[in-house]
């Protein structure tokens, strides 16, 4: 049995690149529409909440509300981009399009495919998150250099949420089940994790829950960088995010093995 699981793990450090490149080629054909689709939602939130609520809220921790919100929106858009790419597009490649089935006939393993899909979803997260950061910088809410420092945090956020969504994909019988993950996990996380208002405003029990959620760690890494403030507990945040990326990754491979290779 243990041998069976070993055979489906990533075979080496580079096999996944072929899967990433396949997705990149498919994306290139529809890039414009895809980019607009990815950006519209977080932009609307940034400007709608930022200007609208910003007038009422005033300053938060000494910065304007929209500057505070920018970091949260960068993390949120990375989360959303990775989650949706995995849940809908990767699920389609696994099921309706039979792409995975074709790849499993080559010398790639299930683990190579999952890793390639995660890397691709993280790439889309970087695109989406960076685009929001660029807008924020252009409008003067953050410094240009902050984008460069944010990118690693955005990328790992992408990996985390792709990895978590991959577990959902490996268990979901059909598209209909994704809405539960979206409404019960993803959306509440936006409000619990300090993306739109400081975690310190919540009751302490909620604050403790937030400390366990991955998006809170992403926000705590990205926001201070964008605001030019010192970042505390970098090791803790990165460690927590790595755990959220790696454990679901292996779990999803084991679940896919049960689902696809029986």
């Amino acid at each position: 049995m243990r041998e069976g699981y070993a055979a489906v793990m990533p075979a080496n450090a580079y096999n996944w690149v072929a899967v990433w490149r396949r997705n990149f080629l498919a994306w290139r054909k529809v890039a414009l529409a895809s980019v607009l689709g990815n950006l519209a939602d977080p932009m609307t939130n940034l400007f709608g909440l930022g200007f609208g609520l910003g007038i009422i809220v005033g300053l938060i921790d000494g910065t304007s509300y929209i500057a505070f919100l920018a970091g949260g929106m960068v993390a949120t858009s990375a989360m959303t981009a990775a989650t949706f790419e995995t849940m809908y597009a990767a699920f389609a490649r696994m099921r309706a399009q039979r792409t995975w089935e074709a790849i499993l006939c080559t010398q790639l393993t299930l683990g190579d495919i999952v890793l390639g899909e995660l890397a691709w979803a993280a790439t889309k997260a970087v695109l989406a998150g960076t685009a929001i950061a660029v807008v924020a910088v252009t409008l003067g809410y953050a410094a240009w250099a902050s984008i460069i420092y944010s990118i690693p945090a955005i990328a790992i956020t992408g990996f985390v949420f792709a990895s978590l969504a991959m577990v959902v994909v490996s268990l979901a019988p059909s598209y209909d089940y994704f809405v539960f993950y979206q409404t019960l996990v993803v959306t509440p996380m936006v409000f619990l994790c300090g993306a739109v208002f400081p975690v310190s405003q919540m009751p302490s029990a909620f604050q403790r829950v937030a400390g366990l959620l991955p998006l809170a760690h992403s926000v705590d890494l990205i926001r201070p960088v964008m605001l030019g403030l010192p970042t505390g507990g970098i090791g803790l945040h990165i460690g927590a995010l790595c755990m959220y990326a790696v454990l679901p990754f292996f779990l999803s491979i084991a679940l896919f093995r049960r689902r696809l290779m029986r």
Partner: protein, 304 residues
């Protein structure tokens, strides 16, 4: 490279109470075309997937191209080409892009893929379609592209799961012709099919399966001679039971399937004499084929 390409020994697989592969053993020699023949649900596809390491057997041993499977199936797959039962080409990609993307799955560089693409396109008769989107191709062209794609890594062994199901006769004959060419080049083929004609035309040896069990194995001609060994008269119309008692003395064996009577007769003339003058009967005299073997072994006709 040993001379045995695939070796299965006492392989068993069940899903819950349902036994899909029941103590199956066979060996496929290098360079031969070996057919798995059986009706839908006989376990053919499961066996093909097992050979690729996509299904782990409950018990039994499997070796493919010298590698233990499923433990080291990946190394075997590096030298296998697969034509799956259902097309899984990239519909939005061009023919050329499909080959490029698939070549990368075998760690081939773009240059290495480009070097083999012209020969593959020629083999698949798709030279003029290189830059067409796959979604625009006909069913036969898609199958040929799937075949070309399966050859991208210059495999030693081809695993084909119902390669011509759903194709029109013309497209099917073209695929058969291509497969014979591959056999002439020394490739080994494992073919699953429920087309008797396909098995008879292509396979050097075949294994007849029913409900996951091997019920016969051998060369198609030998199986036919062994199991039937005489001419067949198909009789339509009339009451099969009445007719069968009439011709029984002259028949080696009689099978009734639906409203058709199959009479296996060493001397067909005598049977025809008995039936002469009867109205409403349609008679067809022909040499025996694998269909008869299957009917004989299982007591039922193959679904078509």
């Amino acid at each position: 490279m040993s001379t045995v390409a695939i070796d299965l020994s006492c392989v068993r697989k069940s899903y819950g109470d349902k036994i899909v592969v029941d103590g199956l053993s066979f060996a496929v020699a290098s360079g031969e075309c070996f057919g798995l023949l059986g009706p839908n649900g006989a376990g053919k596809s499961t066996i093909a997937r097992m050979v690729l390491g996509m299904v782990a057997p409950d018990t039994g041993k499997m070796t493919v191209l010298g590698e233990p499977v499923p433990a080291r199936a990946r190394l075997a797959r590096a030298r296998i080409g697969v034509v799956p039962q259902f097309d899984n080409l990239e519909l939005e990609f061009t023919v050329r892009e499909n080959l490029l993307v698939f070549g990368r799955y075998f760690n081939m560089s773009a240059r290495e893929v480009e070097a083999v693409v012209p020969a593959l396109l020629e083999f698949a008769r798709l030279e003029s379609k290189a830059d067409a989107r796959v979604a625009e191709l006909s069913g036969g062209m898609k199958r040929r592209l799937t075949l070309a794609r399966a050859l991208i890594n210059d495999p030693h062994l081809l695993v084909m799961d119902e390669p011509t199901t759903g194709l029109d006769p013309h497209a099917r004959h073209l695929i058969w012709e291509r497969l014979r060419l591959l056999l002439a080049r020394g490739k080994t083929i494992l073919l699953t099919t429920h087309f008797m004609e396909e098995a008879e035309r292509l396979c050097d040896r075949l294994c007849v399966l029913e409900a996951g069990r091997k019920i016969a194995e051998g060369e198609p001609r030998a199986l036919i001679d062994e199991q039937i060994g005489c001419q067949v008269i198909e009789i339509y119309g009339g009451n099969p039971h009445e007719l069968s008692s009439l011709i029984r003395p002259y028949a080696r064996h009689i099978e009734v399937s639906g409203e058709t009577l199959f009479c296996y007769a060493p001397d067909p003339e005598q049977v025809l004499v008995q039936l002469r003058g009867r109205v409403g009967l349609r008679l067809l005299q022909r040499p025996a084929n694998l269909e008869d073997v299957f009917l004989r072994l299982t007591g039922r006709e193959m679904e078509r």
